[in-house]
């Protein structure tokens, strides 16, 4: 039951109120995350993919309550974080840490590396004095930073090294869950690989559970055991990594796969064979009726325009929100 899962999200919503143009205009509601549910076991990695504005970062921030959820439950080891008071929540904070996208803005430029990594330990009164120093230097070694850099400032480091500092800070309190919000998308290709490898090694070493948010499918595939695809605040498909790549069922997922440039020119397809998703991502303030994806969907029918699909288990362990999911046969033909 609930004990089995480290994290269980039930019907989580996060709405923002957006002020209208003038003082008389009614405020509008932006459904950044709507009705998201999933479970995560210890040691698993859930990859969340989607394009900009799909709510994947908002979801990450809401789970650790950097943003207050509008409704829904966030069960962490069976306890509902969504309803907790701040003081009670503080007890659980050390178990959940975050790694941010931009290694430039997520480190305080006025703090030395040592103090950046030591800050969570000091805030939670875990260690002090010589023990603290030892622990910080140990963390630096773990993430592959030279301990002699401890008294330097962030600006003296490259992007990849800064991301390592951010990872060391996230590890300081021995968390169970780390939410990685696009941890490699600001980095160069050769550095991305270094950071992804590091994250994997750390996961094995410390038995970590990750939520890995990214827009790059290749990196998500590399690190995740389960993948969820989001579109305009909703989960449209969720299943194990291998199942998703072998037989995607939602037309949007298939469109995402088609759009990824393959780094091998011998796979180049003639232009007329490529099925490129047409159209733009709609404005999240005024989403389309019915299925949010229908204006861009090559398979859309009348029902899609009027009735909203819900996330259903169409095959064991394979959740899809689509009235007419692509059958396995069809996706094979396409792949």
């Amino acid at each position: 039951m609930a004990e089995e899962y480290l994290l269980e999200i039930r019907h989580l919503d996060k709405f923002f109120t957006v002020k209208g143009g003038g003082p008389w205009k009614k405020p509008e509601i932006l459904r950044a995350v709507s009705d998201v549910s999933f479970c995560l076991k210890e040691g698993e990695t859930l990859g969340i993919v989607g394009e900009s504005g799909c709510g994947k970062s908002t979801l990450g921030n809401t789970i650790i309550r950097l943003l207050e959820p509008t409704s829904g439950e966030i069960l962490f080891q069976g306890k509902d974080l969504a309803k907790m008071k701040k003081r009670e929540l503080a007890k659980y904070r050390p178990d959940m840490q975050m790694i941010f996208q931009d290694p430039y803005s997520s480190l305080n430029p006025r703090m030395r590396v040592f103090d950046i990594i030591a800050e969570p330990l000091r805030t939670h009164h875990v260690l002090a004095g010589e023990d603290l120093r030892k622990r910080v230097l140990e963390l630096m070694t773990v993430v592959g930073l030279d301990v002699s850099y401890a008294s330097r400032y962030p600006h003296e480091f490259s992007g990849g090294q800064r991301q390592r500092i951010g990872i060391a800070r996230a590890l300081a309190l021995r968390p169970k869950l780390i939410i990685c919000d696009e941890p490699v998308s600001a980095l160069d290709v050769s550095i991305q690989a270094q950071i992804l490898n590091l994250l994997r090694q750390l996961q094995e070493k410390f038995h970590l559970t990750y939520i890995f948010i990214a827009h790059g499918l290749p990196s998500v595939r590399h690190i995740s055991s389960k993948i969820a695809v989001m579109y305009l605040g909703k989960m449209v498909e969720m299943t194990s990594r291998d199942q998703l790549f072998a037989a995607p069922m939602h037309p949007y997922t298939l469109g995402l796969f088609e759009a990824i440039p393959i780094p091998d020119p011998s796979f180049r397809k003639p232009e007329e064979d490529r099925e490129i998703l047409q159209g733009d991502i709609p404005n999240a303030l005024h989403p389309p009726s019915g299925c949010y994806f229908h204006p861009r969907c090559p398979y859309a029918r009348e029902e899609c325009r009027t009735r909203e699909p819900v996330l259903e288990e169409k095959q064991p362990g394979h959740f899809v929100a689509c009235h007419y999911p692509i059958s396995i046969k069809e996706s094979d033909k396409k792949a």
Binding site: I260, P261, I262, P263, D264
Partner: protein
Amino acid sequence: MNQEALLRVEKLNAFFKKEDGKIQALKDVSFQVNKGELLAIVGESGCGKSLTSLSIMGLTAKSCQVEAEYIDFQGENLLKISPARLRQLRGKELAMIFQEPLTSLNPLFTIGFQLTETICLHNPVNKKQAREIAVETLKKVEIPRPERILSEYPNALSGGMRQRVMIAMALVNKPSLLIADEPTTALDVTIQAQILFLMKHLMREYHTSIMFITHDLGVVAEMADRVMVMYAGQIVEEANVYDLFSRPLHPYTQGLMNSTIKIDQTDDLLATIPGTVPSLADMPEGCRFHPRCPLAKDECRRICPDLVETEPGRKVRCLQRGGEGSIRFRGSECPENMDKGGNDNG
């Protein structure tokens, strides 16, 4: 090369002035872009790929000093011609698309104003005709309701639409060379696919050559005819796209390809290039890649290798590969994929 060159750059060097002397950001960059071809320039941040394009366009900052034997564009040396002539060429024969479509459009003017301005500057047309051309071009880049878009301001458009407007603006005067500096990096992946498709299509329609700057090897594989790999201000490898991907010669190119995550690769750890790109102020002696290179030998630390043509159309800057390198090619330290390449070579 039997193809006709459109742009030839010879020994391009660029320096930034600092209080304590000069920092060299580009070193002896020589290449050519042929008619009707798409040349991709790949490299990581700080390798000089953007600076190369800005130098060609004459758009470098004041603090940057650009030197070259020549930058020959259709028989004219862009470094020698008058500023007035350069202005004539820019926007007409030479066009550029930038990475961030929001910052390259002026937020205070409508799309129509900015687009017709480009048309009126280079063509003997009145406003009404210019507007017609603008609508026509917006249709070409597949913008819905072009007449309405003309009276919109840039903030009303999505990123993909803005980039389409930028492409329309660049192509409206049918340039012979289009320089695209990371045109899809700021876009979502499904939008990127649309824009790349559009660029290929328009390239054929307008007979434009494209110099495509990117860090994404996937995009290179989809788009390029020829590829130039840059590292730390130098060209390290140049080849036809198929040769480059099937048989990369420079250890840096190999490293880049290995660390690029393939979509079918899942479980094992990724190959990486150790270390980081050296800073321009503190370039290593000898080969600039040697501190990160798995094949580095003593000579690499001392000798700066030249860019050597190893076979027609292929150049590489590496002591272990270029020149007499084909003998060492089968050395024991070569990675597996290279052994195969070596046999093909011999």
